[in-house]
Symmetry: C2
Subunit: 205 residues, 2 copies
């Protein structure tokens, strides 16, 4: 009988890691079949998400950024990922561009989630950007990470309507609800392998 081998996910955080916790929930509940969380890594030693991860018995590590170049930091990160036999890397509130070393070590296996319908509203404060722009719809996006900011091929998106009485807080909360299931959906696509990247389109096979 073949042994079931699960794909191993690393989650990279810098802050409270709300998407990390949602992903952990989804894995535990079986919404991300054939995957397990290998490790949660923060570049900030004081990230609130580290304690949350530990309280759920998830392995954690800190790979500090302070005082080092991006390349040095990312090389150590790749070493830690390899030690933990990681297959996929999920960024969850990890707001850094990645070095080419990191990108090529995990080509098409690094995912990010962004709280807008990319390519609209990349970068910081995407929810506020959508609100101030007067968009009637926004949403969230999971995409492959490349050398650009929030610019890699899009795996999955969800729509969230903007209401006239929305504040940044109410809109962010409704987007977060969708984010929580979108990451699991995107990981299932990527782990299943039944897709191809045509130009920059992610097309299911």
């Amino acid at each position: 009988m073949p042994r079931e081998v699960k794909s191993r996910i690393a989650i990279l955080i810098s802050g409270r890691g709300s998407n990390m916790l949602a992903l952990a929930d989804a894995v535990r509940e079986g919404s991300v079949p054939q995957m397990e969380i290998a490790i949660v890594i923060s570049d900030q030693p004081n990230a609130a998400g580290l304690a949350h991860a530990q309280s759920q018995n998830l392995p954690t590590a800190v790979v500090e950024r302070r005082g080092r170049s991006r390349d040095e930091h990312d090389r150590e990160l790749v070493t830690v990922l390899q030690e933990h036999q990681v297959d996929f890397v999920c960024l969850a509130g990890y707001m850094r561009l990645l070095s080419s070393h990191f990108l090529s070590a995990y080509r098409n296996r690094i995912l990010n989630i962004h709280p807008s319908l990319l390519p609209a509203f990349p970068g910081l404060d995407a929810q506020r950007q959508a609100l101030e722009h007067g968009a009637k719809f926004t949403g969230c996006t999971v995409h492959f990470v490349d050398q650009t900011l929030d610019g890699g091929p899009i795996i999955a998106q969800r729509i969230v309507p903007v209401r006239d009485d929305d504040t940044e807080e109410t809109l962010s909360a409704r987007i977060l609800d969708e984010e929580h299931t979108l990451y699991a959906e995107a990981l299932a696509i990527v782990n299943g392998g039944a897709y191809e990247i045509v130009g920059r389109r992610v097309v299911l096979k």
Copy 2:
């Protein structure tokens, strides 16, 4: 008994004017209450939309662009609009930036329709842009026209999913279906007057 006074719309076209025809249908069917089409104006004497408009007994005019500055052309356009007592101007495939004279003569009364969820994919070939970018959703937008390209305050938007097997043609056709009712919806909002522009948000009162 008060006489019913309808708001008068001018539709500006440069080509076949498919949105002009859809708007004419919507007006005839009563989907745009209290409005009537005063005139269809083309800047291209050979625009196919002119014949279509005439076949529907809509008044038409040509205000040729050829050989004149934008300002000269737009001044004649404003004169024609005023002669026809136009209240609202709808751009329908009219791919020109407007002069400040035109914009200030019809401040917040010029509308444009664009086949994407702005601010994503402004400019030409918006449907192809969405497809090539690998967006999972696109749509259409009706917005007030200002001095920017497809950048004015957004009145209404509709979502259209992008399918893996879409071509530019199939996607454009599905967006066009939505465009046909969106323009009427946006005009009803603007004509009703029960909205305000806060920053660049169009908010219903």
